[in-house]
Symmetry: C2
């Protein structure tokens, strides 16, 4: 058990490679750049997670690594691309125990495996506790789902249910037993298969993940598509633990469902006459509202209509 400084960067990279499943179909994994075979559109996204901001109390290093990968694969999923690889850049404290680093890398690799892909390159150096991942995906001839394609009259739908990670966070903070919610916080699932299905059905007009929360996602679609959105509170599927945690902590259920981030469900829109096509995909989804000629997102609840602001996450 040595610190990262004692081991040195070159040896660390060798050790990290032993933790990872080997990338068999990509050249350049021993170079500073990876070479990806591509025939058509390639989707690329890159996001940074930090110990300070993205490692809630109770999260293991393995889960932190998983999360660092998941936030990127979720963006690939929202486009509808098939994951094609992950590049990782680690900037970790010199005095960190080497095994903690291997746990992070193992978590990253497990998430890549879940997404049917591999780590194809990366680097490690001393730093303040930051992981930057770059996820790659191939469109395989399909058009990417953007945030800018929603049209008035379209239906708004989401996969899965809402508020789980928020409830999980509050449960950990307050020592409440809420296993499912805590799991959803600690192991965010990037919906890559769901994204591919939605994209390939050809009828989805826009898509975004909920990593910054429902309100922010709704406003982003409105801004990029230059439209409005009405969401009906009663239509929103709420995760099972949210109610209990709300009662136990006095925190607003509505706030947990609308304004917290850390959700990785997909929000998407499609013309309402295409509902059968969407149902035929076999995906579970809930219709939560529709697109209007207005601008900005609104919530309908108990016969009131109020503006939804961007969340603060």
């Amino acid at each position: 058990m040595s610190s990262l400084k004692e081991i040195g960067e070159r040896q660390l990279i060798k050790n990290i490679k032993k933790v990872l499943r080997p990338a068999t179909d990509v050249r350049g994994t021993d170079d500073d750049a990876a070479v990806l075979k591509a025939d058509g559109d390639v989707v690329v996204c890159s996001d940074v997670v930090t110990f300070d901001r993205h490692m809630p109390k109770g999260m293991t290093y393995e889960q932190f690594g998983w999360t660092a990968a998941a936030v990127n694969f979720s963006d690939i999923a929202a486009m509808g691309a098939r994951p094609a690889g992950l590049i990782i850049s680690l900037a970790m404290p010199d005095d960190m125990d080497e095994n903690d680093l291997y746990d992070i890398v193992s978590g990253i690799d497990q998430c890549a495996e879940f997404c049917n892909t591999r780590v194809i390159g990366g680097d490690t150096k001393p730093g303040p506790g930051v992981i930057s991942c770059t996820a790659l995906g191939r469109m395989e001839g399909y058009g990417p789902m953007m945030r800018s394609g929603a049209n008035p009259g379209d239906v708004v739908a989401i996969t899965g249910s809402l508020g789980g990670p928020a409830a999980g966070f509050l449960a950990v903070e307050n020592g409440i037993d809420a296993e499912d919610a805590i799991f959803s916080l600690m192991t965010p699932v990037p919906l890559v298969n769901e994204g591919m299905e939605l994209c390939r059905c050809g009828k989805v007009t826009s898509c975004i993940d909920l990593s910054d929360g429902l309100s922010t996602a709704a406003n982003t679609i409105c801004e990029q598509s230059r439209c409005g959105m009405e969401i009906v509170w009663e239509f929103l599927p709420v995760s099972p633990d949210v109610d209990d945690v709300s009662i136990a902590t006095g925190k607003s259920e509505e706030d947990m469902v609308l304004n917290w981030g850390g959700e990785y469900e997909l929000m998407f829109t499609f013309p309402k006459e295409e509902i059968e096509t969407l149902q035929k995909t076999g995906l579970f989804f809930s219709i939560i509202g529709h697109i209007t000629n207005d601008d900005g997102a609104y919530l309908l609840r108990d016969d009131n209509k109020r503006r939804l602001d961007y969340g603060s996450y």
Copy 2:
């Protein structure tokens, strides 16, 4: 003049976009992922720079941004790809002045412009002073130059001269006037055109940039190509200020030339009978040694032959 916290992330992203030249030929710049048209191999690399480690005394925020982009484009150059875009992830302190952030972004954009490409996506969030960039390149039908292709008998060459950034660093630390050396430290030039020329001539067997120093580059080629290398000290082109700075500071010239990083010249190998083809490219380069059947890199100086270790950069 506000701090980043006062402005908020969404407004910051809007302001940053005003600093950047718009990306006209790429979809997805308002999404979390960018979509790149590709027809053949795509090269991707990602690297993190931090205030602590990569911002030497005297470096401006603009130069720091340039550097963050340059380290990535240099990896693209070493492969021989044509730059196709840059994705930036900023994790900056909440109390940072907004103008400093725009200076960073402007430096990034200027480096992208130097490389004939654009910023095609990115994100900003609070963090410890870290920039992660992902550079993309297209091979356009040419085979990428790897680190693994050097063969015994090949000639070893480098573009440009050595030791400038090391001399620049020591000059700043010790208040020595060495304008060119300091400039080479503060504004590393990614040799993308040179990399493309080398790749397209079809005769280069391996290539690497010197960002971790000559010794490390030489050992990396040896390790990846399973060969040895002999470098002749007298053949090494030394930057003009190195001698003066060495005398003024008492620091070893050999150490500055061999073991410091921050150089962005390219080291490459080719069969010696192809020297004319290489000369016809019009590139300026110096032959510094050759590839052997041995393993590891060696320096020949004054009739002595000694092992070159990996540098410590």
